[in-house]
């Protein structure tokens, strides 16, 4: 297979997390996406006409789409992308936008995920998610993604000897991180292991704190050339390597691995990094089992050793835990503690990495954050998640030297 071209010359900048709210019966996704766009433009000191690329992911935008949003907001981009990829949308947006900038197809691309959440939106989304969902999974209990994930979680526990407490380490450490991030909807509450274990059952081994809280909100970032970012005096980070693979291992009877198994080694080799050099990692945490799967499949530990890994690793953003191995994970709390604002959750990891690598994380800043991984997973069709993506990002030389 031909080696992918380098991402040199591409800058990721202006991390925006916008207007998280548990329920919103007033505003549609149009309002959230437009709100992120407004903050991206203001954050870069640009005008709206400078945005010539527009990539959007949203579940609740319909009947509008990225193209009708162009008329909605008087935009005339020369590059657009619609990204119905759920939890992988941010990583995929980054990959598509980076190549567009390198190719000269656009100069400043706004990549945005945004969704509203009214009392009916989650139910109508999950009940009609796909033809397979309509015909062959939703009629069996109407429990949405909790159904396949409880089955995946139970299989993982049986196969690899993972306990609820092991999954709890992920949820509890993320809540600690969220306690230092003001936009996390659950950040005002602490979560102990006992509270995690005692919480009410939802489906099989999944209890309350294994499940995200659907909410409204938006996430976004800008992609441009490094020259432009420096001319605008913007702190930015760069892409060292990335990969994606979809509907992987489709002959597996039940999902226990994702597409990262097929490209993680290449991604790290291209980045010329070992796992020990990674300062922080953002996994897509729709359920703790999937975060554990990502940590294994990205190569932070061997397959089946995820439980041992989380037992012996300090996942807190500030390395304040007792474990000697440190790997800050889901450093703003992840969607398990921030909330899942639909497709915006698929951008959360990339946005948080930009924030961390450019020193803008304020109260939850990871010290000496130079190399960060963001992983995407999503689109739970029927019995498994179909998308996978991952990116290794680094603080720019300019940011490291305090130039911006």
């Amino acid at each position: 297979m031909k080696q992918a071209q380098s991402y040199s010359g591409v800058a990721l900048t202006v991390p925006v997390s916008f207007a998280y709210k548990k329920q919103d019966d007033e505003h549609g996704a149009q309002w959230y996406i437009g709100g992120v766009l407004k903050e991206l433009i203001a954050g870069a000191g640009l005008s709206k006409t400078d945005i010539d690329g527009f990539a959007v992911s949203s579940f609740s935008l319909g009947p509008d789409s990225v193209i009708s949003l162009c008329q909605y907001y008087d935009l005339s981009p020369r590059w657009i992308e619609s990204l119905p990829y759920g939890g992988c949308a941010g990583v995929i947006a980054l990959r598509r936008a980076a190549r567009a900038v390198q190719a000269g197809d656009a100069e400043i691309i706004a990549c945005i995920g945004g969704d509203t959440a009214n009392k009916d939106s989650f139910g109508s989304l999950t009940s009609q998610f796909s033809t397979f969902t309509i015909d062959a999974s939703f009629p069996y209990g109407e429990a949405g993604p909790n159904t396949p994930f409880s089955l995946i979680t139970q299989n993982y526990m049986d196969e690899y000897g993972v306990s609820r407490e092991d999954f709890g380490r992920i949820a509890v450490s993320q809540r600690y991180n969220a306690n230092h991030y003001s936009k996390a909807l659950l950040g005002h509450k602490t979560l102990s292991m006992q509270e995690y274990l005692d919480s009410r059952p939802i489906a099989g081994p999944l209890h309350l704190y294994d499940c995200v809280m659907p909410c409204a909100g938006g996430e976004g970032f800008l992609v441009m050339s490094t020259e432009r970012a420096e001319a605008l005096n913007l702190p930015y980070c760069e892409i060292l390597a990335s990969g994606e693979l979809h509907n992987p291992h489709y002959s597996d009877e039940i999902q226990f691995r994702g597409g990262w198994t097929e490209y993680a080694k290449t991604v790290f080799k291209t980045a010329k990094l070992t796992h020990n050099q990674i300062d922080l990692v953002q996994t897509y945490d729709d359920y703790p089992v999937i975060s554990m799967m990502q940590l294994e499949d990205l190569g932070f530990c061997e397959k089946g050793k995820g439980a041992d890994f989380v037992r012996n690793t300090d996942l807190r953003f500030d390395a304040s835990g007792p474990e000697s191995r440190k790997l800050p994970h889901n450093t703003s709390g992840g969607q398990l503690s921030i909330g899942q604002a639909g497709a915006a959750a698929g951008f959360m990891g990339v946005v948080e990495n930009i924030r961390q690598l450019t020193g803008q994380a304020e109260e939850h800043q990871v010290s000496d954050a130079h190399y960060a991984v963001a992983s995407g997973y999503g689109m739970i069709n029927y019995d498994r998640g179909l998308c996978s993506g991952a990116v290794i990002m680094t603080a720019s030389e300019q940011t490291r030297s305090g130039g911006a």
């Binding site: 989650f122 139910g123 999950t126 009940s127 009609q128 033809t131 397979f132 309509i134 015909d135 062959a136 999974s137 939703f138 009629p139 069996y140 209990g141 109407e142 429990a143 949405g144 909790n146 159904t147 409880s150 089955l151 995946i152 139970q154 299989n155 049986d158 009410r200 059952p201 939802i202 489906a203 099989g204 009877e253 039940i254 029927y382 019995d383």
Partner: protein, 161 residues
């Protein structure tokens, strides 16, 4: 005063999903099989998953499979199942059958012991309270040759009124 309609399981199906329901109203389990490459398909599709041909015939399939995983639902987004869950969790399973993965309602009462991954399971179809055919998993020892037997299982589970 108008009568409030009783909640039912989801009635929505795609076109090919409706055909699945029409083809599956008895003890036999019919799945699509490609006339070109013999690949079996479930969930139902409009073209072969393997060779993309559009000649998918409904064929009777050996309906004994193997349990992949079992789960108890303590919460549902639908009123019908939420009402059942008030009494006890609703149990479903995924089953490996003919190299496909099937979600089924699990008739735990038909098994003499616990149903776990690897348990043998028989699959039949029955109309639920929405009028759509759904898959039900029973012990291979359960007699399901007669419609009355199948309906009784569905009724005991609470799938029909």
């Amino acid at each position: 005063m108008s009568k409030v309609a009783q909640a039912t399981p989801p009635v929505l199906r795609t076109q090919v999903g409706k055909i699945f329901c029409l083809k599956n109203k008895g003890d036999a389990l019919l799945l699509q099989q490609c006339a070109k490459c013999d690949a079996i398909q479930y969930p139902p599709r409009e073209r072969c998953r393997n060779c993309l041909a559009d000649q998918l015939d409904w064929r009777k399939i050996d309906n004994i499979g193997s349990v992949l995983s079992v789960t108890e639902l303590h919460h549902s987004q639908g009123e019908f199942f939420l009402d059942k869950i008030k009494a006890k969790p609703w149990v479903i399973a995924t089953v490996s059958l003919a190299e496909q993965c099937l979600f089924v309602h699990l008739a735990s009462a038909t098994f003499s012991g616990d149903v776990v991954a690897g348990s043998e399971i028989k699959i039949f179809t029955c109309e639920d309270a929405s009028g759509r055919s759904v898959l039900i998993g029973v012990s291979p020892d359960a007699d399901t040759r007669q419609a009355e037997q199948r309906n009784a299982i569905a009724q005991n589970m609470g799938l029909v009124f």
